[in-house]
């Protein structure tokens, strides 16, 4: 019995993923193609990145409902930053790079200097709203002891309102077409499998998340804080700082996801990301992270997000209507939590 429970514990989610793929493979001849798997990764990458950040929040027994709206704010700011001024043909990071390099011509050696400076300026300014948004929520949770559910529910509305307020809800256009590469562009082709930029970024974030969770002091603090905050506090874990930082991680992940989302839409969309917080929470829970904290796995979250993505894509290819799709994914979430419950019962009985 113990072996069986261990098997479910380490591979359960992967097995479900494989079974789903096989099922859809029998339903549609197009499902198990390289092209389609590239598509699934493109369609899932935004959720993978947000859910990776969410894994830290939930592992610490907190919740972040503001990510969907924060994604819209970050996306709008990304689009503003990249918007080309029709007179000069340049956008803000380009102008900044020109100015910096005119001032200190040999800041960096080589011809790539301009790209590095403008890219750096862009990345810094595009990630900043995520950092601030997450940090502010975390600060209020830690400093005033307000439950994160309430704080982030408030920020969900604040950020959505802000995203619409910036342009009176009109989409932001005028980005350079080259920017589309990030969302849908191909990095390289591996025997017909298109490795896209968004997939590489998403997997990079997952890898960073795995390392952060499993191999750093911060990761252990997150799990300890989520498992038993009082015991952790008494044994010297910086509980408050850890709680604050999980929201920062979530905010920064959301800002990275916003860059991909904006590139894919090729507009700054103030309505983007509605309901994404629930998609991300679903991916984390399906992946096996406990909603009560103390147990979290980033790899599980990756598979959780992929399972949702495969369900949407596979049912799409089968021609199933959207109403049914929602019912199936809802059922999947309950099934995953039941599996988790069953798994823990097995542990206790052994």
């Amino acid at each position: 019995m113990k072996n069986f429970s261990q098997l479910i514990d380490s591979f359960g989610i992967g097995i479900i993923f494989l079974l789903l793929c096989l099922f859809f493979g029998t339903q549609s001849s197009l499902f198990l193609t390289r092209q389609n798997f590239s598509n699934i990764f493109i369609q899932t990458s935004v959720n993978i990145i947000i859910a990776t950040g969410m894994t830290f929040v939930i592992s610490a027994a907190e919740i972040d409902l503001s990510v969907g709206s924060l994604l819209a704010v970050c996306g709008m700011i990304t689009a503003f930053l990249l918007q080309i001024d029709p007179e000069t043909g340049l956008n803000f990071p380009m102008r900044a790079a020109n100015a910096v390099l005119a001032y200190v011509p040999d800041l960096l050696p080589g011809a790539a200097a301009w790209w590095i400076v403008s890219g750096g300026v862009f990345l810094f300014l595009a990630l900043l709203p995520g950092l601030l948004g997450g940090g502010l929520a975390g600060f209020i949770v830690v400093r005033f002891g307000v439950p994160s559910f309430i704080v982030t529910l408030g920020f969900m509305m604040i950020h959505r309102g802000l995203a619409r307020y910036l342009t009176n809800a009109a989409p932001v256009t005028g980005m350079p077409p080259a920017f589309m590469v990030i969302g849908t562009g191909e990095w390289f082709s591996l025997s017909g499998f298109r490795v896209t930029c968004s997939a590489v970024i998403a997997l990079g974030i997952v890898l960073a998340g795995v390392l952060l969770m499993a191999f750093t002091r911060f990761g252990r603090h997150v799990l300890a804080t989520g498992g038993n905050p009082q015991a952790s506090y008494l044994s010297g874990v910086p509980v408050r700082r850890t709680r604050f930082l999980v929201f920062v991680v979530s905010g920064v992940c959301t800002a990275i996801a916003a860059i991909i989302q904006t590139s894919r839409l090729f507009i700054g969309d103030p309505n983007a990301g509605e309901g994404y917080e629930l998609d991300a929470i679903a991916a984390v829970i399906i992946g096996g992270t406990s909603l009560f904290g103390g147990k979290g796995t980033v790899i599980g979250t990756l598979f959780g997000a992929l399972i949702i993505g495969v369900l949407r894509n596979g049912l799409d290819l089968m021609g199933v209507t959207d109403h049914l799709k929602q019912m199936v994914i809802g059922g999947m979430i309950i099934f995953a939590v039941l599996l988790d419950y069953y798994r823990r019962k097995l542990y206790r009985s052994t």
């Binding site: 989409p171 849908t184 894919r264 507009i267």
Partner: protein, 317 residues
């Protein structure tokens, strides 16, 4: 593309002559045309789907239909288009959820040899040009329709009084066109004054709230143009709740069943029928024409009708 038709005829003839023995020799494959719509919960798109399905059956093409849950879910619609590219459909007929956000993926479809037909909500011309997408538009003149509705409103008010406008989602082109079309007529009237113009994002519940507040802020409002019927229905509830029934003239857009009933009860003056079933049908036909090698014009107009008490009462009889 002519070759395909020939094969089809050959297949049919050969099949009927020789039965199963010739079956491996290229069975007839009808064109696969995809219809991508917005919120399937909106009856407008259901009518569009029915029109497209009937036309597809008449023309002998296979129609695949998908739509999103919410009007504003651009990403989901992009994913749907991407999955249709994977299914290698011959043509895509789409009512875009965003006038610019869908352009990149539709361009990708076009590059894969899929013919794109834009229906209902026009794509943004500058963005199309920037990215390189070319596709015909099938739909009605939204500004004209709104002007007709505004004209009815002015007539119902006797040309005097304060009016309000409930707008669609800002930045969506048909919402902008309807607002402009209505404003053009209302602003030209010397004794009509627009005192409030706000978005309720096409939604009944949001229109209820918005119009309640408008009535509080401007108690002398005597007329309302709602850019779609869902919002007109919300405003109607707000008027009833405020005890102002029968005092405010409303005209709107889309000709939903519920609004027809309200017109017959005298609660709404008129609405605009923009024939979504024809948008669906003409869209499918334009796709089929192109695949058959016929020329398709850049713009195909669908007709507009003003639906008022006279029209409905005479039709019902």
């Amino acid at each position: 593309m002519k070759r395909r038709e020939a094969l089809k005829t050959f297949g049919a003839v050969a099949g009927s002559l020789a039965g199963a023995s010739l079956a491996p020799a290229a069975p007839a494959q009808p064109y696969k045309i995809a219809l991508v719509m917005k919120a399937l919960s909106n009856p407008f798109f259901h009518t569009m789907q029915v029109g497209a399905e009937e036309e597809a059956q008449k023309l002998g093409v296979t129609l695949l239909v998908q739509g999103t849950n919410k009007e504003t879910d651009v990403t989901q619609q992009i994913n749907i288009v991407q999955n249709f590219i994977t299914q290698r459909v011959d043509a895509l007929v789409i009512a875009p959820a965003s006038s610019s956000g869908l352009v990149p993926i539709l361009f990708q479809a076009q590059q894969q040899g899929i013919y794109v037909v834009n229906i209902d909500n026009p794509l943004d011309e500058p963005v199309k040009k920037q990215i390189g997408l070319t596709c015909p538009f099938v739909g009605s003149d939204n500004a004209l329709g709104a002007s007709l509705a505004a004209h009815d409103l002015v007539a119902a008010m006797g040309g005097v009084g304060e009016v309000a406008i409930l707008e669609g989602i800002p930045g969506v082109i048909n919402a902008e066109l309807r607002k402009q079309g209505a404003r053009r007529v209302l602003e030209a009237e010397p004794h009509i004054r627009i005192v409030a113009s706000q978005t309720a994002e096409w939604e009944t519940e949001k229109a209820y709230r918005a119009f309640t507040n408008m009535l509080t802020a401007h108690p002398n409002i005597r007329g309302l143009f709602a850019a779609n019927d869902n919002m007109a229905l919300g405003a109607l509830q707000a008027i009833q709740a405020a005890g102002r029934s029968g005092q405010i003239a409303i005209t709107s857009y889309d000709n939903l069943q519920a609004v027809q009933e309200a017109i017959l009860e005298g609660k709404i003056i008129s609405t605009i029928e923009q024939h979504p079933e024809l948008m669906g049908a003409y869209g499918v036909r334009a796709a089929k024409d192109h695949l058959d090698g016929k020329a398709v014009p850049d713009q195909i107009d669908t007709p507009l009708d003003v639906i008022d008490y006279r029209y409905l009462s005479l039709r019902k009889k």
